[in-house]
């Protein structure tokens, strides 16, 4: 189970070494075109500094930057206990030694991604659109996929690859631009003699500067695609239910809602490429394999082990994907039956959760309408949008009065007698409106405003 990561690491190490080599060579060329042979060491130093600065930025706050840019809010267990249960289940199944934090993004496009260069700041991000669209099995598949990105250290790898790629692009830009505008240094060297060698180096530099970033990009995208397949394989193995992840991928790619916060730089992190509207961008420059191909492999699995994934992949493409070392250590696994439970939350509930996470205050009116007031709202009341009643905002009114508006929890229980079988609402002594649904059958209810128990008969 762990050897496949090792085989993957070897290939990635080759890529990283190649990229570092390209970077140093480009640095040498920059130094050479600027200051002649004496500048080579200087150029290498400059290349390392460019790379080091970028790496520093990524390590210091890439997660915070990304999460902040996406307006992601961290969820507490109370916000969505079932989502936390699913994440904990997948943590146990994957054997990950830490529990990633969970972030919610208020976006109608269903998608998810994982971030984290170290355990302490690793997080799994889901959108509200994902939570109400997927049923429990599908959501579990998505979380398992993201968990295996964390477990296989894909996030660290992709970060490092992105940093190196960025540095290579910067250096090659420098070379290409110096060639175009900085003809003075070339004139000088030609007048000094030895112009032929210098010219050859310049041509080589130009070719290398153009091809280097291209090759680096192609290779890192190829690695990224492979890691997506491997995360799918792990996801199927953790959940023992490949159909769940397959169905989730289908729903995500068919939703056809563009992700509003995704950019070119963050696209490789998502479970399905957020920039390709139909998730079908194929070819050498794709960060993700075509979703249809991933679904086909998952649907073709006859078991839930790595061997089953490899067999299905072989059937779909004619090649294997998982290294022989890992297949040898693979345990046979059968597919479990479907859990057949629906979505863990409704569209409305998840919207309310997102509002709560963004510190909105829900103000209930006696007419049944609910208004979400943003945290920065300074007036002490609003008018109900449906019936026009003036409503106080509890938190603001409290702050203005200087005393807590809630009654002690030990107040004597009140009683309310139901008058009809349908929807019903009444007002607690503290002013809080309480609604009873037609299916409400418990003998008592706790007032959310003042915590006192109200007997219902």
């Amino acid at each position: 189970m762990w050897e496949q990561i090792r085989a993957n690491q070897r290939r990635s190490a080759v890529l990283i070494v190649g990229m570092v080599g390209t970077l140093l060579l480009l640095g040498m060329l920059v130094g050479d075109t600027w200051a002649g042979p004496d500048g080579i060491v200087l150029g290498i130093g400059a290349a390392l500094i460019v790379c080091g600065v970028q790496l520093g930025i990524y390590i210091a706050g890439a997660e915070a930057l990304l999460l902040h840019g996406a307006f992601a809010k961290e969820l507490k267990r109370d916000d969505s206990p079932q989502l936390f249960d699913i994440v904990e289940e997948m943590q146990i199944a994957s054997g990950l030694p830490f529990l990633p934090r969970i972030h919610l993004i208020d976006d109608p496009a269903p998608n998810a991604f994982a971030v984290g260069s170290k355990p302490a700041n690793s997080a799994i991000c889901v959108t509200t659109g994902l939570l109400h669209r997927l049923n429990r099995d599908e959501l579990q598949g998505v979380i398992a996929h993201e968990m295996s990105h964390l477990k296989n250290r894909d996030v660290q790898f992709m970060t490092l690859a992105a940093v190196l790629l960025g540095s290579i692009v910067i250096l090659s830009e420098i070379i290409v631009r110096t060639m175009r505008f900085g003809s003075r240094s070339r004139d000088r060297s030609e007048s000094r003699g030895g112009g032929q060698a210098q010219a050859l180096i310049l041509v080589l530099a130009l070719v290398f500067a153009i091809l280097g970033p291209l090759m680096a990009q192609l290779l890192s995208f190829a690695c990224s695609r492979k890691r997506e397949y491997l995360a799918d394989a792990c996801g199927a193995q953790f959940t023992r239910y490949p159909a769940g992840l397959a169905a989730a991928l289908e729903k995500i790619s068919q939703a056809n809602v563009p992700v509003s916060f995704a950019g070119k730089a963050t696209a490789p992190l998502f479970i399905v490429n957020p920039l390709a509207a139909d998730g079908e961008s194929a070819g050498l420059f794709a960060t993700h394999p075509p979703t249809a191909a991933r679904i086909k492999v998952l649907r073709g699995m006859t078991g839930a082990s790595f061997a089953a994934y490899d067999a299905a992949y072989r059937q779909a493409t004619g090649r294997g994907i998982i290294g022989t070392e890992s297949l040898r250590a693979d345990a046979p696994a059968t597919i479990r039956p479907a859990a057949e439970t629906g979505p863990i939350t409704t569209r409305r509930e998840v919207r309310d959760t997102a509002y709560r996470a963004h510190d909105y205050v829900a103000v209930h009116c006696a007419c049944g309408a609910e208004t979400n007031v943003p945290a920065g709202h300074t007036a002490d009341g609003i008018t109900c949008f449906r019936c026009g009643t003036a409503l106080p905002i509890p938190a603001v009114a409290e702050a203005l009065a200087g005393t807590p508006a809630t009654a002690p929890a030990t107040a004597t229980p009140l009683a309310y007698t139901r008058t009809r079988p349908g929807w019903e609402s009444f007002r607690c002594a503290c002013g809080q409106t309480i609604q009873l649904s037609p299916s409400f059958a418990a003998p008592q209810v706790r007032c959310p405003g003042c915590d006192r128990i109200i007997q219902i008969s």
Binding site: W2, P81, E89, A93, S94, G95, A339, A442
Partner: protein
């Protein structure tokens, strides 16, 4: 001079051999630790389930006191699970408890008041999730046992495993086929 070269070559070979032994030993230790962690995780989840059951029984008693048989079966299964020692025993007791809980939740279907009780709903949700966690912990444990057992049996690691007394571990599974194929109860 040739003697020196021969000595150096021998030394390099010896160092390589020692290095390989150290690497293989460390690999086995890592696998065994992972296995023990996985077992601890099963233990945590099973204990958690046993802790939730007295509360559940009390809540159900309030609404359906005359379902004595079902309630007693759950309590008995819980006590057995708490007392069980060893991997195979634990697995067996755990499975009996799962069955008893399923029938308890099936019984609860007949009591609308019980089904609307907030405490009961919270407990049911928590127990269902704990049940899932037990299943996943068991799955991870069994995968770990599988790869550990393979590692200590294949040549040449089996020599090192024998030298340092790495022994085979049991799988956490139920022998009874009827119980394994029990149909899932839906709520």
């Amino acid at each position: 001079m040739p003697i020196v070269i021969a000595l150096v070559v021998l030394l390099v070979i010896a160092l390589g051999f020692v290095g390989w032994i150290a690497g293989a030993y460390n690999g086995l230790i890592r696998l065994r630790n992972q296995l023990e962690n996985a077992w601890a995780q099963i233990d945590v989840q099973l204990k958690r389930r046993c802790d939730l059951i007295p509360n559940l029984v009390e809540t159900v008693k309030g609404y359906a006191a005359h379902e004595r048989g079902t309630l007693e079966a759950v309590i008995q299964a819980r006590n057995m699970a708490v007392a069980a020692k060893g991997v195979a025993d634990r697995a067996q007791a755990d499975n009996v408890l799962s069955g008893a809980l399923k029938s308890l939740f099936a019984v609860a279907e007949a009591y609308p008041n019980l089904k609307a009780d907030q405490t009961f709903l919270a407990l049911q949700e928590e127990l269902t999730s704990t049940e899932n966690k037990v299943a996943f912990a068991r799955q991870f444990y069994n995968d770990s046992v599988m790869s550990y057992n393979t590692q200590i049996e294949i040549f040449p690691r089996n020599v090192i495993a024998g030298m340092f007394h790495f022994t085979r571990r049991e799988f956490f599974e139920v022998k009874d086929d009827a119980q394994r194929n029990a149909p899932p109860v839906k709520f």
